[in-house]
């Protein structure tokens, strides 16, 4: 198992009511699989929201294997101005 920290922004933060989530995942879990887990946990609140993923403060391709201690941010587009 690995432990990862999820940084929550904008709609993701409001979906969970938290800035940060700490999750324990199967070893070998990818960022795409984590996104699916997050969407499922949000119970429909993120269904229409597109998300970009940053791993350890850096944008990454969607399929990257996570390691123990990673910090993952899901970043939605924000429209307001």
């Amino acid at each position: 198992m690995i432990k990862v920290t999820i940084k929550c922004f904008s709609q993701v933060k409001y979906a969970f009511g938290k800035d940060e989530l700490n999750l324990e995942l199967e070893t070998g879990t990818s960022t795409l699989e984590l996104e699916n887990i997050i969407r499922e946990k949000a119970k429909g609140k993120l269904d229409t929201v597109s998300l970009r993923i940053a791993l350890n403060q850096k944008y990454i391709p969607i399929q990257t294997e996570l390691k123990d201690g990673d910090e993952v941010a899901f970043i939605p587009p924000v429209q307001g101005g």
Binding site: F9, S50, R52, P77, G81
Partner: protein, 321 residues
């Protein structure tokens, strides 16, 4: 009291000018065109009549006047630096002395700003503070692009518009407010929404385009024009208590399309999601700051990075794109 180089030049016969700078500064930056008395060890000679104290940047002398309660004595705004510039070009830059004293800006940076041209797309929550900061900083030209009218619900965050402006075009109301701040900035108000047909023409001669819109479609359009014309785009976006800023399309650096690939969805507008009034003013000012850095050439900046700010807990995060 303070006096500008231009005012001193016009009334030079009325004043005794006292140079309080150390010898090394006096010899490196001589004050041509005016007879000065040298202050010994920072003391102010007891001379009748009106006096002007001069230091290098005009800050030391303002302090001396307050400290010694010299109410009949003036400090030269911007100091010897501003006087020398005025003597060489007859251009008075002393009003910007508080920022030209910064080594990263200086007179050269100020001149770049005064020759600079910025387009701002959207004159709402982000556009108002961005425009205000650029005008106060002395930007040469602004192009304001927005087809919208001022509404009552805008006023809690859009500080260039007031109650009497409701129903006016936002670009007209903004220009009226901005012109009162700094008449030297040339402001062009274009009361249309940026579109495919004319958008590129509107921003083409600018050094920077600030994305202060409230919808993703226009952001994508600005991104395309920015890429095509190689004009950097300073993106800003808001969601409730949070804001994002990124500097995009600088010599091939990532653009909005790389930030949020098509088709983005789920981004609520301020009308849908709500926004705290202070938030756009913080984010719009960061956009103006990045525009100033681009024009002057100051690094580090937000090229290739996404800044995320949360006004609730004041956390910031910078993501590499």
């Amino acid at each position: 009291m303070i006096i500008t180089p231009k005012e001193l030049y016009a009334r030079i016969s009325e004043f005794t000018v006292i140079d309080v700078r150390p010898e090394i500064q006096r010899s490196e930056f001589p004050m041509d065109g005016v007879d000065t008395i040298i202050s010994k060890n920072g003391s102010i000679p007891n001379i009748e009549g009106l006096k002007v104290l001069v230091c290098q940047f005009g800050i030391v002398t303002e302090g001396m006047i307050i400290e010694n309660e010299l109410y009949d004595t003036y400090s030269l705004l911007g100091g010897a630096q501003a006087w020398i510039e005025f003597q060489s070009k007859k251009e008075d830059l002393s009003r910007w002395s508080r920022q030209t004293v910064l080594p990263e800006i200086g007179l050269d940076g100020q001149k770049k700003l005064m020759d600079g041209m910025v387009a701002i797309v959207g004159m709402g929550g982000l556009g108002c503070p961005a425009a205000q900061s650029l005008v106060t900083a002395g930007i040469g030209e602004l192009v304001l692009i927005d087809g919208d009218d001022v509404e009552l619900s805008n006023l809690h965050r859009q500080m260039l518009h007031g109650e009497d402006d409701i129903g006016k075009k936002k670009v007209v109301s903004a220009k009226e407010s901005l012109s009162k701040i700094n008449a030297l900035t040339s402001i062009e108000s274009i009361d249309v929404y940026l579109d495919e047909q004319y958008g590129l023409d509107l921003i083409q001669n600018c050094d920077v385009v600030i994305d202060a819109t409230d919808n993703i479609e226009t952001r994508q359009l600005i991104d395309r024009f920015s890429k095509e014309s190689n004009i950097p785009m300073v993106y800003g976006g808001l969601y409730r208590w949070e804001g994002q800023v990124a500097v995009l399309n600088v010599n091939g650096s990532p653009g909005y399309r790389e930030l949020f690939p098509e088709p983005p969805s789920g981004g609520d507008t301020c009308a849908d999601a709500g926004v705290l009034g202070m938030l756009p003013n913080i984010i719009g000012n960061i956009q103006a700051l990045e525009a100033v850095k681009l024009i002057i050439g100051i690094e580090p900046n937000l090229v290739g990075k996404l800044l995320m700010y949360d006004g609730m807990n004041h956390s910031t995060q910078i993501i590499k794109l």
